[in-house]
Amino acid sequence: MTARLFSFRGGIKTDSHKTESSTTPIAPAPLPQRLVIPLRQSARAGARCLVEPGQHVLKGEQIGVPEGNLGTAVHAPTSGTVVDIAPYPMAHASGLVTPCVVIEPDGEERWIEHAPFDYRAAARPAVLAYLRDRGIVGMGGASFPSHIKLGPGSGFDTLVINGAECEPWITCDDCLMRERAAAILSGATLLRELLGATRTLVGIEDNKPEAIAAMRAAAAALTEPLEIVAVPTLYPAGGEKQLIRVLTGIEIPHGKLGAEFGVQCFNVGTAHAVHRAIHHGEPLISRVVTLTGNVAHPGNYEAPIGTPIEALVALAGPQPGTDRYILGGPMMGISLPDLSIPLVKGSNCVIAASPALFPPPPPELACIRCGACARACPADLQPFELYWFARAKNFGKAQEYNLFDCIECGCCAFVCPSHIPLVDYFRFAKSEIWARERESAAATQARDRFEFRNYRQEREKEEKAAKLAAKAAETRAKLAEGGAAAPAAAPDDSKQALIAAALARAKHQQATAHPRNTEALSPETQAEIAEIEARRRKAFPPQTDTTASSVPQTEHQSAGEDSK
């Protein structure tokens, strides 16, 4: 049965350079002296460290727990000792540092206890959580967590397994399909069951006949609703939206995902990792990586995650003339700022680039408005318009022209007769827009918090005033009930009321207090007291309404009179 194939607009034909590295079988890469495992495997999300320096870890032991919604677990790729937890440069265009766990292998490769996962007995969320805890992410390059792509488990009819591997030079998926077709298809079956899809389409570019033959042979042994489809070789046929278009004819519109049309896409490497995780209980701790370009022995190596790129390059035999190393393919990869950068789950290829293989780009010339970029664009964009807006930093306009639909495949820059690095401009514009969005989100948050603080302060002031007023009212009520001398002050003046209340309290206290030593006195003492009282009366003639508080006042007044 041959399904009808569709095509996408644009795309380019390049020299594939696949045979350099695809002729030899996948070789296991030896353990390096030190493994540097970034806790952050992609720019998207990180993991929280579980180990400490000096701790001994086993192969497959979890060293990082997922953080955030998009986080995935990180595991020790071999047994050994954690010697350091420190920031090291990361496989990212910025070359910035990220916290890494450094493990010195003990060479024993002792596995942690692991067993196949009975996914049929477990509930679906448990299976997804299991995949997350095994650190399964997309291995085509973006490292997007697979358990999130598996989604809610309904509404899917087609699973697309991406074996197109359209970028030149890279052959890791090709070799994986040739050698481990059965494992990939077993993983594809698991993914299809988890998605609840009814059919699986495996798309492989027709420049990989051996891989297609191996996959077809493996598929023949299965009773799966599965089809291996050879797709025409045209870069970027391996782009998610492009491959879905070619295989199913569904054109995914702007701002939507394949999931909304019942299609989900996974890389062959991811399918293989899912198979290893569920049927063998192994976390994602190694991957197949292509070493090619200006090296003596190009080929594919299965290397533990965290292997420094320099150790990999040493395996392939670097040759003189190499001026830079590219991580990923020549179209979308990044130039490595530093060779000590470790391999991460999304690294599929390392290319030793020499000026002979990759001549430096000629000087950038002015755009001549030829429109070649628009004809080559597989995302149906107008790169020349985007270029003008990005160059003028007119980001709003660039967004209006759907900058974010750009998949950065590099077709436009490849065909540009003026050698304009168009993708660099688009990446610049995208990251500027993201930065602005972050800033404006922070500003909104600050504004809300500032306004809430002002509101809170106002409220606290009001609450305090209300509390005082209530207390004063309470005192007034008490006074009115007690029938004590009502203050003459205005009743609504809380301060006056409080003063009056305090005066009344003091008066009451004085009225009830008896001098404790005036009872049962001897007649002499009694006479002495009477004498003192008489003297006092003589000195200060008694006033009609002397209160406790007015006594000292009188004293002061009289003292003043005396001095006069």
Partner: protein, 183 residues
């Protein structure tokens, strides 16, 4: 003559009624210009402009009481945006209000903090947590870098630390073609 006068008066009355109704029906709450200015301001709430917060500065700007070059955290880009919005001439940041600095956040040296709560009261966005005689700390994602907490601290334990670039905040640079000397 009288008919013409009556017609004109009638039209005037009808139009007046329509306008009067429209002004009630389509009344705009608040000052839209203040909102627009406030959206440009960085919301640091630092008070360096001389007003107690970004909103009061926006109000002063809309009334024409303040100049557009009084906001150091907004920087040159902010002044340009304000100049565009308000139709005023661009002018460089006024010296007396401060200098444009890279974004920084406050960090409390927890060894030195005596728990006096003065910084908590000074923070305009409630980004400092702590209690009397307990250690205080700055919640970094909420800190706007306004520096208002630095001065009140009696033991000088608050430092402004520039925010470092991370993988998440890193930006691609503007493409520049490097000129090389031909041999």
């Amino acid at each position: 003559m009288l008919t013409a006068l009556l017609i004109m008066t009638g039209i005037a009355l009808v139009l007046g009624a329509v306008l009067g109704y429209a002004s009630i029906r389509f009344k705009v709450e608040g000052d839209p210009l203040v909102e627009k200015i406030d959206a440009i301001l960085p919301q640091t709430q630092c008070g360096q402009c001389g007003y107690p917060g970004c909103k009061p500065y926006a109000q002063a700007l809309s009334k024409g009481e303040a100049d557009i070059n009084q906001c150091p955290p907004g920087g040159e880009e902010g002044i340009r945006k304000l100049a565009d919005l308000l139709g005023r001439e661009f002018k460089p940041l006024s010296e007396e209000h401060g200098h444009e600095k890279p974004k920084a956040v406050a960090v409390i040296d927890e060894q030195l903090c005596i728990g006096c709560t003065l910084c908590i009261q000074a923070c305009p966005v409630d980004a400092i947590v702590g209690a009397a005689k307990q250690m205080h700390t700055v919640v970094e994602p909420l800190c706007t870098g306004c520096e208002l907490c630095v001065a009140p601290c009696p033991v000088d334990c608050i430092a402004m630390v520039p925010v470092r670039e991370t993988v998440e905040t890193w930006k691609w640079k503007y493409p520049v073609f490097e000129l090389r000397r031909a041999a």
